[in-house]
Subunit: 618 residues, 2 copies
Amino acid sequence: MANTTSRLEKLRGLMKERKVDVYIIPSEDSHSSEYIASCDARREFISGFTGSAGCSVITLDSAALATDGRYFNQAAKQLDSNWTLLKQGLQDVPTWQEWAASCASGGKSVAVDSSLLPGSAAKKLNDQVHKAGGAGLVPLDENLVDIVWSTDRPARPRQPVTVLTDDLAGKSVTKKIMELRQELCKKNCPGFFVSMLDEVAWLFNLRGSDIPYNPVFFSYATITPTEAILYIDESQLTDACTAHLQANKVKVKPYETFFSDARQLHSEVAGKRQGDSDGMGIGKFLISNKASWALNRALGGEGSVEEMRSPVGDAKAIKNETEMNGMRSCHVRDGAALIEFFAWLENQLIERKTIIDEVQAADKLEEIRSKHDRFVGLSFTTISSTGPNAAIIHYGPEKGNCAAIDPASVYLCDSGAQYLDGTTDTTRTLHFGSPRAAEKKAYTLVLKGLIGLETAIFPKGTTGFALDCLARQHLWKNGLDYRHGTGHGVGSYLNVHEGPIGIGTRVQYTEVPLAPGNVLSNEPGYYEDGNFGIRIENIMMVKEAQTEHCFGDKPFLGFEHVTMVPYCQSLIEVSLLDKNEKDWLNASNAEILEKTKDFFEGDELTTAWLKRETQKIE
Amino acid sequence: MANTTSRLEKLRGLMKERKVDVYIIPSEDSHSSEYIASCDARREFISGFTGSAGCSVITLDSAALATDGRYFNQAAKQLDSNWTLLKQGLQDVPTWQEWAASCASGGKSVAVDSSLLPGSAAKKLNDQVHKAGGAGLVPLDENLVDIVWSTDRPARPRQPVTVLTDDLAGKSVTKKIMELRQELCKKNCPGFFVSMLDEVAWLFNLRGSDIPYNPVFFSYATITPTEAILYIDESQLTDACTAHLQANKVKVKPYETFFSDARQLHSEVAGKRQGDSDGMGIGKFLISNKASWALNRALGGEGSVEEMRSPVGDAKAIKNETEMNGMRSCHVRDGAALIEFFAWLENQLIERKTIIDEVQAADKLEEIRSKHDRFVGLSFTTISSTGPNAAIIHYGPEKGNCAAIDPASVYLCDSGAQYLDGTTDTTRTLHFGSPRAAEKKAYTLVLKGLIGLETAIFPKGTTGFALDCLARQHLWKNGLDYRHGTGHGVGSYLNVHEGPIGIGTRVQYTEVPLAPGNVLSNEPGYYEDGNFGIRIENIMMVKEAQTEHCFGDKPFLGFEHVTMVPYCQSLIEVSLLDKNEKDWLNASNAEILEKTKDFFEGDELTTAWLKRETQKIE
């Protein structure tokens, strides 16, 4: 537990100087990144809470930290007595926005670093503050936490950037920019501003390593009808990058000049708009609905800016043939690594009676993975969890302070890697001994859900929200469920979580229909607190399905799974599977065996494990 | 086909006098009714199109009629050459709002009778008109069609109203008003205004017959913290009604004074607000988001009115024990009527070789239904359709101009009735001979979907949107689908369609979770244009489910079906059903036999049919 008293005192001193009554500290960086660099971990610095999601609200005499169900236990442990924990999603617990608004009643002011909150979120919060009788939300250009943190705050990373060649990217930068300009042209848009780091990386076929696990680099970009500008610290660009950008007619400017250039462009366009006789010729600037309030303000605010789902994010979510082939290929290698790891782990635990702890296992898995072609690094922290720890959905074992893997309990491993040709994310739950009936039943219900979703066929236009219940239906019939989404979009040698699509109960998943080329996870689970946890996760690609009929001339779509790791035979309660499910399982296992067996020539241990785990189920 | 030239000429004359360039004529009456009285059929009068859904947009030199996929063929037949048909939902076809906005470009004005459009719809349309360069949407207090229609327009119905006694309604008016006031109290609301006719009928436990099939009466109501006022033509109230209203402390005022009273209340409350020192004591007026723009304006508009999903509609959708028992009971009687009818029809067609047309069959069904206890009337026009006509989703056969029922084709019958204790809506598709393989397959896929949804178990909080794919999944796997929702809410001796819940792909069905007491239809289908149509429809009630576990202490819910009519044995392809589906079918058929057989004592023909159609499937 951190002692946050002195930090809070300093922060409150700064708040008083600036006449700020309520100060908001979001988790995100100024690019709305889910994973952040350590220099941006402001919410963690001020609160001591290290989870990936949450928001702090500080008043002159109170401090609240809001986070979701994944982190209730962790936050309760990490917060000291200065803090109130707001368990988001529980009945009668206010959202952090409601909390902030209520703290502002009686004409008090709420402030936030405007680069850390999306414009739409700021607008909504401002309304809430006003409604509660507060003085409104004030945008600050400086960050008060950064001032408190000045002495030991890490520098912003400036790691070298590399070119993703067209044979890996599948589409040239010139073509991507051309297609984006065609979108902008439809709206007479004078400029689109790319603020998400993975969107910049995708658009320019560049990769970096400024953020852990995500091959991105600190940058912004501006695309106008005539110019494409990448804002980045030039020291990060290799000669190859510079040549690549020149060849694609991309200008490079310093990262720090992005906002001033945006303000400059706004005033130029505003001038042209005034000279524009009917006022209809020049459209608004477009920014992503995840872009910051600061960017929205720099571009002139509501009158001259339209926020929308990013067209770059939409394009990125539809993988091209090269990217899809890369996904297939890297998942075979990644599957081989997981198979070798599971065979090794079982041998160590059962035959050799070695004590292996959760972190040692994760490290071994990384070591095996790193030997494979095109391996770059992990795509997120490996979740390696035994017994009751497997029930903690986002468990992260700590080196030297984690459990030994219990061969008599379930072992859940959720891991993934970055390869030059794709990003992987796989979860398998195993048991090295004799599972209990309850564990087998839960595993099999989860597996039935995974199969139900994988084998779905659906008309074009269907969203991930509409399909979610296929993964939950069998658990539901037994009164069981899981408190997380069923699937997230996956980048192509990019972030392991990406929008705009997903499968789950969040209403945002009703917005964008699934389309051929989408890459998604399928990861139902079941978690019994203090007891055990089950999750099975495959990565799937959306593709056109071959159906007997084709109603209404709209294509029907289905999934192709690319994950090549067997399911745990000892955890399957065969009597709960119907014929179609057994057929699917046998066909999948046969494919996994066929595609991975050559990796284990001469490795009898792994080959034996693989053959046993892919044997036919009757 | 109507000749609308002269009507349009007169209307355009009135438009010119009032400087209206574009005039909107919605289908709805001033209560947002789905079914309307003939006096309110303005859109039909002006366009000649008789379908239940659509909107007309008239300019000085053009006329457009927008309707949805159910009515494309019918509209094309009924519209004369003055009209452009806007097929809503087709790609590249503008919505009627977009059409109206584009007609207004260049500073033109759009007008509408403000009592016929919800406030939110008016606001959105006004924005669209402005965006397209129009002069905005003008609210008119008069209706221009009514002026054209003055000579032969039917009078507004003023049918007698009756009391629904507490033993049928299950909850007293006093209790309903008290519960509504508790809702209003939370928001310091000075008044809720009830504008939907079924909401008024439900709130006051009254029923009428002003609108075909819907047991409602023209009325409004105002509920303030101290008063409950019913606005109705007093001539419609029997002595029993008057006594009932007095006993429940409900004032009665003339229908016509509702808007002037609303304006009066607004000015009174506005005065109090000014005297209210901190301005926080008095909340806004609440109206349903389906209430008219005229009502919103009468109450002072945005600053003093909040539109929301009607709390009366929400309460009405949760049936009480008495209403649920009534639903069960009336569906047994209604099922007996359908069983007797189907047995009679088969005997006429097959044994007696009688020629029976679609309308004769529908009339016979009504005759049989009307003999049953507590029968009041039909709940909608019976869809009685043979062969290719069954593929027309909202087919309505016309007397003397309809097809003879073909014993060698499918016969689809979608019908329902109003009983004092509930409302029914049942669809069965039958075949009296030897169905083709394609018909059997389609029927069985539809049946599998019906069973998949009926047997669903889901956690509290799940919406009808999330469950929809359970009804479609088997069709989808064969590349088939249907272009309508899967389920709608059903009133309790009230409208056969009611909100806010439903099951389908409309995003509105993500808003309100299903809850115990909800009554819904489950009606998947499949339609092959020009060939045949299949639909099977049961009415289900949401109830708490008994599950082995209960994850997270939230109750799990499921369905109880109340419809008691067998499925067509000759159309079932048994090889496509799995064991669970066969078990469900056999249990359902056994229950149907048990609950209805006593109605047919001495009726050997019906008894034989019932036993054959409920026989066990292996």
